[in-house]
Amino acid sequence: MPVAEAIAKGHELPSLTKELSQRRIDVYSGVRPRSIHTDEDWAREKGFRTTLAQGMMSTAYVSEMMTRLLGAGFVKGGTISMAFIKPVYAGDRLTVHGVVKATRPEGAGTRVVVEVWCQNQHGEKTAVGTASGLAP
């Protein structure tokens, strides 16, 4: 797809789907006792139905989506701002969405601002925010 089309306002980015296994959460967070991410008994004691993924795993997925869109212009010059609005549990399946919200000139390029959100397998939003980066 031509760059101009991919960054046009309203363009919907290809979504990503991620399966959050306990093993991936363990590697992300590091296994330790008394952690709501890796100790199921502790997570239940703290009021959750099971262990939770770290919110930052969702930001990593957004980073992947933005890097696919903008490449080096996200790795250097990118931004993410997200709020985590619902817990993501081990075993959940997240779908990451993005829609181009705005573009504006910046230096020799164009800053592309994308509205981003993650949804679980029940259709509930778990994280919302914006991400941006530089298109050549």
Binding site: R24, Y28, K46, G47, A60, T79
Partner: protein
């Protein structure tokens, strides 16, 4: 010798600063992170527009998020908000550290939050990532009501 008091809303002071130990970024770190987030971009292990492998941009986020553990025993908490500004790529072989400062604490709907601004730097002091995050405190002896 560092003492580690229990983190509480009352103990926390706006303006207090944290610093992590330096961490040598290894190819194994980058590979493990790629597995954890199921993103195996070729730039993580081969040539990139930056002249060699680079890490996933969010690789060192946990170093920043864990800054408060350098001073406190943290009972439990939830991450509420996160902001990143990716200034320079993180590369294998760098020794990176994060510094942070508590810029706010507040209570809302019976819950307690702290806000930290941070920078992650390489061994020369060059800023790689800047941002801020908001963490909810789950005090000892309490349960989170769920969201």
């Amino acid at each position: 010798m560092t003492e580690f008091p229990k983190l509480s809303y009352e103990a926390l002071t706006v303006g207090e600063e944290f610093v992590s130990d330096p961490h040598l970024v290894t190819p194994e770190d980058i590979e493990a992170y790629a597995f954890a987030v199921d993103d195996h971009h070729p730039w993580f292990s081969g040539p990139s527009p930056f002249g060699g492998p680079v890490a996933h941009p969010t690789l060192m986020a946990n170093q920043a998020l864990h800054l408060r553990h350098s001073k406190y025993v943290v009972h439990a908490g939830l991450h509420a908000k996160m902001e990143f500004n990716f200034l320079e790529p993180v590369r294998p072989g760098m020794r990176v550290r994060s510094r942070g400062r508590v810029i706010d604490k507040y209570e809302r709907r019976g819950r307690q939050y702290m806000v930290t601004e941070y920078v992650t730097e390489d061994e020369t002091g060059q800023a790689l990532v800047r941002g801020q995050f908001t963490q909810m405190l789950i005090p000892e002896g309490t349960r989170h009501a769920g969201r």
